[in-house]
Symmetry: C2
Amino acid sequence: MSTEKSLSANEKETRVIEKKGTWMTYRPDIKVLDCTIRDGGLINNFGFTDDFVKAVYETCIEAGVDYMEMGYKASKKIFVPSNHGAWKFCNEEDVKKIVGDNNTDLKLSVMADAERTDYHEDILPKSQSVIDLVRVATYVHQIPIAVDMIKDAHDKGYETTLNLMAASLVKESELDEALEILSATEVDVIYLVDSFGSLYSEDIQTLVHKYLRFAQASGKKIGIHAHNNQQLAYANTIEALIMGASFVDATIGGLGRGAGNCPMELILGFLKNPKFRLRPVLKCIQDHIVPLRKEISWGYDVPYAITGQLNQHPRTAINFMGNNSKDYTGFYDSVINGD
Amino acid sequence: MSTEKSLSANEKETRVIEKKGTWMTYRPDIKVLDCTIRDGGLINNFGFTDDFVKAVYETCIEAGVDYMEMGYKASKKIFVPSNHGAWKFCNEEDVKKIVGDNNTDLKLSVMADAERTDYHEDILPKSQSVIDLVRVATYVHQIPIAVDMIKDAHDKGYETTLNLMAASLVKESELDEALEILSATEVDVIYLVDSFGSLYSEDIQTLVHKYLRFAQASGKKIGIHAHNNQQLAYANTIEALIMGASFVDATIGGLGRGAGNCPMELILGFLKNPKFRLRPVLKCIQDHIVPLRKEISWGYDVPYAITGQLNQHPRTAINFMGNNSKDYTGFYDSVINGD
């Protein structure tokens, strides 16, 4: 222990951070993606009313948000449609019921999970769809199928992103290999995804730096998707921006499974581009998010902090919170003991 | 605008950050100060039960926290004692009712506000008190009186800190002068205080770097006291630690006026020193903080984000929240218009 102490007292690491912006100016390359419906739908099985989805859509337009994610393109062979809300599948007619032909500056996206999407069938040619962007979500072991999904979506005419989930669990050598493979695809944006809300600012710095190294060489951009398990979603999002990420995910009121996401009202208040407007987001919160809190729960609480600190999937915390228990020590003991 | 755009797109600032720690080791110089009662008392006029204060005290001991702040030493000439709870004054007999002779490793502190403390009379010689540390809180224009308060406390035998409030409003030239004056005093620690929860990580980097430059030359340490108006209290606290601050303020469950403080459960989960224990803090939350939430409210909400973004005192947001209104756009309009 004394060695450790003297090491820590003496050791100083120096790091050079190349900053990508200043406070008074803004970076026009930064794009904001709203995933309120998609990430929030994980709480209520995509059971939002059309009014709610339409309110989010109109808010995004008025707020100058760049992309809105309508939901997932889940396989109807794996998931029975009648058991889930429409936004788990994003049928073209359901999307059009909300957005019409979407003659706006807002682009629309869907998320397609590797191994859980019948992408050949369910993702239409771009000419037949109002969707602009297909985001392929994958764990590192699913990269080969994700690469095929990117090719499929790209060839059909879509913009594409690759969202590599649970980055905090991926070994560095595997991550290097994955990023090398992805750099050789047609994907436009590679996302750093902190699925467990376990990354600290220094992790964000290191990872964005690494992602950028691969992406920039192949003309791609980097995105950030953060969770709030340790109250770091917003902090890590701006850290990633400062380091050079240019796509950011946010949700209105931080709506999202478990501890939730980077709140749109915080990130829009931070960004300096005058095309962004905060007030429509506040209006949406008071009219639609506040009432929703009577039906479903999300946001930081102690169990999420515990799983985040331990770099674990929050599912045990989500289950615990669902029981309305406040036995935090019991939860802590069970997680520490691996029960 | 096009100039601004090209500037922002091209401009790259490079900064060298000298890091003061690694992930696997720990820094024994880091001290954690619990200010649950003091900052939380601003919500309920210090109306905590003795049981609650005793629970926090025992939690701090079990958790390995270094200091616990009992409350303020407010002037009884300015504030009528019968109108406030005991912890606004921290009479020696009231403190001893909780801690006895405090034969523990936990040190005790009180906060003394410049111009609102009769420090000559009300701060006893250390030999007559169980208090170990006097923290002088001051705005920049009160520095002369704060310097006298530090001398008074130091001469009486106490450790001292200087908490320079509302740092986000202080002009750089004035801050330099203040830090130069403080460096010449006997104070042990100079605190960076983000009273409005308006600082971003880059501000923290710049300010801690500046504070350290003055403090290290005179053998002093730097502390950080953060507020959660923009969900950045914890993030900014660890940023300050990484930059070299060694005293951190935290409160159990983030209890504190308005958006609250850096949560003790997060910072103890982050620090690697094995003397710290998370479980007693979780136990205190479930037994004492959860019930308290039925009586008083604190924590992040939209109005605090708005005042934080605008670098304003949160008093308008606190008043708004007290009315249980969700008219966020009305609040935003009034703050923007300066009503």
